[in-house]
């Protein structure tokens, strides 16, 4: 299943929420409602819209000299996704399984390290068997 992108942070969510309320709007329209209220620069709002567009959460079409943005993701999907993200964050990383394994599950193992250790073990065993 493809993982849906989510707005990262309060500002991205606020901009997306404004688009849901408006239906569509230019960067200036959205800045008037969100950015100006928080004393943000216009370029900040425009950058946020660019990021949302890159994530595929909004679409845009050129109308004259300005882009008109429209929300692509549905509000209920995003809200559900954010709730799930918060729940997973609360649950924390996957707990260790209740299985005692010979070697713990590892993120990665350096093959050079394995070879070096294997050589060391083999050398010791040869000296044991030889003696």
């Amino acid at each position: 299943m493809r993982t849906r992108a989510l707005p990262g942070g309060d500002l991205e969510y606020a901009v997306l929420a404004t688009l849901w309320d408006l239906g569509s709007g230019t960067a200036r329209d959205i800045h008037a409602r969100v950015g100006a209220r928080d004393n943000l620069a216009y370029t900040t709002t425009a950058k946020v819209l660019d990021r949302l567009h890159a994530k595929g959460l909004v679409s845009r079409a050129l109308a004259g000299k300005a882009f008109v943005y429209q929300p692509k993701a549905k509000r209920e999907h995003i809200v559900r996704g954010l709730a799930r993200k918060m729940l997973l964050r609360l649950l924390g990383p996957q707990p260790a399984p209740a299985i005692a394994t010979l070697v713990d599950a590892v993120e990665s193992v350096d093959p050079k390290l394995l070879d070096e250790l294997a050589r060391l073990v083999e050398a010791r065993r040869r000296s044991r068997d030889g003696s």
């Binding site: 609360l90 649950l91 924390g92 996957q94 707990p95 260790a96 399984p97 209740a98 299985i99 005692a100 394994t101 010979l102 070697v103 713990d104 599950a105 590892v106 993120e107 990665s108 193992v109 350096d110 093959p111 390290l113 394995l114 250790l117 294997a118 060391l120 073990v121 083999e122 010791r124 065993r125 044991r128």
Partner: protein, 279 residues
């Protein structure tokens, strides 16, 4: 109000903060001892130490509940509100315990599974990669896990740690115990006659077969023992001094007696105390 509901609210309100507070106060590191088994026992005891005061309170509340009729004095809303922050913590702990119990990591070369009746599992692919001596050494290591019922202990340790969330010291204690556990079982296998070098070779073979093996990446990470440390311990002579001691029967009896005493205390004085609290 239902007796059970009052019990839950009081448990969250009193035991919850005790778990978190004691979890923050108890030092997270246990001094390493020459014997890995003794170190493991110390780490295990330190894992549970922060839960003793809260456990005592829970035992008292259970004693109270045993004597209380089904319908109890209602708890004031302020107390219910104060207990609420601990609901997600305890639910989280239970949810993670369930996840831990159900998780099946892919491609386990050798391990011990089963909470109630632990048993050794060794994959055929891994078994074929070993010599007879290495197989015996692997079995000795896993039988040591069976002997101590380590899958159940792993689950309980995870639960104990999560009840102290978000105290970071609790996770550090769990990680240290898990680290000491594998070293202790290696040592026990050697004391039972397995060769340390054969066990080391088996561990390296298991690491090669691991599902997360990726070429050109960094050294072993995670909550387990760094590979170099483990192999180094296996190639070193067994500790001569500081031989492990089984858990003291006196200590176990004392803890049992304290628990039963707490239940009796709750049964006799619980009603008076609870009534004073909720009034």
């Amino acid at each position: 109000m239902d007796r059970e509901l009052v019990l839950v609210v009081l448990a969250l309100l009193f035991a919850g903060p005790l778990f978190a507070t004691c979890g923050a106060v108890v030092p997270s590191r246990t001094t390493r001892s020459p014997s890995a088994q003794r170190w493991e026992q110390r780490c295990w005891a330190r894992l549970w130490l922060p839960l003793l005061p809260g456990g005592f309170v829970l035992a008292v509340l259970v004693g109270w509940a045993l004597m209380e009729p089904a319908s109890a004095e209602p708890v004031p809303r302020t107390m219910v509100g104060a207990a609420m922050p601990f609901v997600p913590i305890w639910c989280r702990a239970l949810a993670r315990a369930v996840r831990s119990a159900l998780a099946r990591p892919p491609g386990v070369a050798a391990g011990t599974v089963g909470l109630v009746r632990p048993r050794v599992v060794i994959s055929e692919r891994f078994s074929r990669a070993l010599t007879a001596r290495e197989r015996d050494a692997t079995r000795a290591h896993e039988i040591a896990h069976v002997r101590h019922r380590d899958p159940l202990r792993l689950l309980l340790a995870q639960l104990a740690t999560d009840l102290q969330w978000p105290c970071p010291g609790a996770q550090a204690r769990l990680d240290q115990w898990r680290r000491s556990l594998e070293l202790a079982r290696d040592e026990e296998a050697r004391l039972q006659g397995a060769d340390g070098w054969d066990l080391a070779a088996a561990i390296l073979a298991a690491a090669r077969l691991g599902p997360h093996w990726r070429a050109g990446s960094t050294a072993l990470v995670g909550g387990g023992v760094p590979l170099e440390e483990r192999i180094g311990a296996l190639l070193a002579p067994l500790p001569r001094d500081d031989t492990p001691v089984a858990p003291s029967p006196v200590l176990l009896l004392s803890l049992t007696a304290a628990g039963m005493g707490a239940v009796c205390l709750g049964a006799t004085l619980g009603e008076t105390v609870v009534r004073a609290l909720v009034a």
